[in-house]
């Protein structure tokens, strides 16, 4: 009879998460055709967005306070950022809740929320490398316009991107808790995507949005996933203003992470495992 094992130490926990990350990354390579199709769909969406904006600039380009080149550089960055931050844990967890497989996830000695964060990180790393390739193509087409304004701006961007990942993950994790009540992740996934696409700045800089949408967006975290990192990258916010934006991002990241944790605890108390 073995003696009982004591709780894992912090370093043992971290090793566990890193080991999970390693396997999650490997699993990302399992479906090449699906990855290519996803990339094609995203590129198509981006292409259509560019065509629409091109048409808008042909019609009323002079009335907009963003040049055509700046707009295309913004859209390229937004596309790449969004691609890198495409986190599939809501579909994955939603399906596992629907099929009752979530039971096996909850039986691990690691924290469920943190494990999902590392799953999201694996998505981000995998998609990030693909996004880097796309960025290289976009940069060669757009030239200097696509480069960060300064090394300082690039530093702010990197910090902002890291925080954007935590916000994006925390939002996804928060939303997916709803599946513990609805037992299907699809509706939740669809509503999150709709809000994200509208308010993150993926389709256009938020400065071009109608005032009402801008006001709503200002009170929500979605703008900090795409719009804020690009704002810092392009140097439209510098110095104290840049630090202020990073602070806002950090608050949203921490807030949503904690909120997700609270909701998860409540959801698990009333959990039913589907399928007996």
């Amino acid at each position: 009879m073995r003696p009982l094992a004591p709780p894992l130490t912090l370093s043992e926990n971290i090793l566990g998460y890193l080991s999970f990350l390693n396997r999650a990354l490997k699993a990302n390579f399992a479906y090449k055709a699906s990855t290519v199709l996803g990339l094609f769909t995203a590129a198509l969406t981006y292409g259509i967005t560019v065509l629409v904006w091109n048409h808008v600039y042909d019609q009323k380009g002079s009335s907009l306070n963003v040049t055509r080149q700046e707009m295309f550089a913004y859209l390229a960055m937004a596309f790449c950022l969004n691609y890198a931050l495409t986190i599939n844990i809501d579909q994955r967890v939603g399906q596992r809740i629907r099929l009752g497989l979530i039971a096996t996830d909850l039986l691990k000695p690691l924290d469920f929320q943190m494990t999902q964060a590392f799953q999201a990180l694996s998505d981000c790393i995998f998609n990030g490398f693909i996004a880097l390739g796309i960025m290289a193509v976009a940069f060669s087409a757009l030239g200097r316009q696509a480069f960060p304004k300064s090394p300082e701006a690039f530093g702010f961007f990197l910090a902002s991107f890291f925080l954007a990942f935590i916000i994006q993950y925390s939002i996804v994790f928060f939303f997916i808790q709803g599946a513990f009540y609805t037992y299907s992740g699809y509706g939740i996934f669809a509503s999150r995507i709709a809000v994200h696409h509208t308010l993150s700045g993926l389709q256009a800089p938020l400065t071009l949005y109608p005032p009402i949408l801008r006001s709503i967006g200002a009170w929500l975290p979605f703008q900090h996933v795409v719009f804020t990192p690009i704002t810092l990258y392009t140097g439209r916010a510098e110095g104290a203003q840049a630090w202020h934006l990073l602070g806002e991002q950090a608050l949203w990241a921490a807030g949503f992470y904690l909120l997700g944790n609270l909701v998860m605890r409540k959801a698990l108390k009333q959990l039913e495992i589907q399928g007996g």
């Binding site: 009982l4 039986l107 959990l271 495992i273």
Partner: protein, 355 residues
Amino acid sequence: MLTVPGGLPKMLPLYPMNSALQVQNLSKSYKRRIRQPGLAGAVKALFSTQEQELHAVRDLSFTLQRGERVGLIGENGAGKSTTLKMLTGILVPTGGKVEVLGRVPWRERRQLALNIGVVFGQRPQLLWDIPVQETFELLKTMYRIPPDIYGLVYKEAVRRLGLEPLLATPVRHLSLGQRMRCDLAAAVLHAPAIAFLDEPTIGLDLSVKEQVREFIAHIQEKFGITLLITTHDLKDITETCDRLLLLDKGRLLFDGSIKAFEQKYASDRRIVAETHRPLDSSVAGPLSVEVAKKGGKLIEAEGHRVVVEYHEEGAAPNLIQLLLQQLQVVDINLEKTDIETIVTRIYRQPDRAGD
């Protein structure tokens, strides 16, 4: 205190009490929306708030000592899996108390997870898209399994469950039987103090079932694992367990040794005799009277076959002697009702636990 060869650093002393788990008046009920059949019923249910309460587990109490091997049986919907999910901390009970290895499972799920192994038949814990070996390696780190323990269990699992050709295969390419074997190995890689096995042989063919049972019995004995198995295949119980819990509609109907179970529910035994010549129809009547005098009951007397049932201990010699005297017997067998027949009979009783 027992230790593992090579010694294990940072281990807590054994749980001071000898009990592995204690369950007191455990209950779990669910609320279900009432839904009428058909499309109209589905539409109506969208606007209906009518609910009914379903009692999955009611007032369940039992204790398991460390190292015990216990089978939990019951019909579909008897509450077996729900009980296991509460014991592992996945579900929060509606009422009652549970302590597993001194911890309240749903409050200390992660800490408990380090010391338990769980198989939910048809719900694999293996990572779906990568080779089996990768999951094993992940579990090794995740559960902080000492190398000597990992090496020992891994070797045994690979050998006894025939996993060698499967290790490099992505889980999604495995058959059900292959996956179940790998999943069982994954559940016990850390030599847990308790293994909760929910239908570990579901959907497996006979030879794989046998492999699985042998592995469970071996690993249990090697590490003194407390075993709680739910199954519909009673051979799983007879080959790996000493004690039986019978659940019926969420209530505990029986708790005791398998022998006690047989004694309680299967006091009837049979003598089956084969005669040299076909029996004359006139024989049955007088034979029935004689058999009754010796404490038996003639069940069948047709063709070459005679079947006598008896309940009293010690009646067999007299009944056999009677049959040998009265008939030209060429073969004779004593039959005991097997556990499957007993359980089937219990399930068929309309007024057992009741609602």
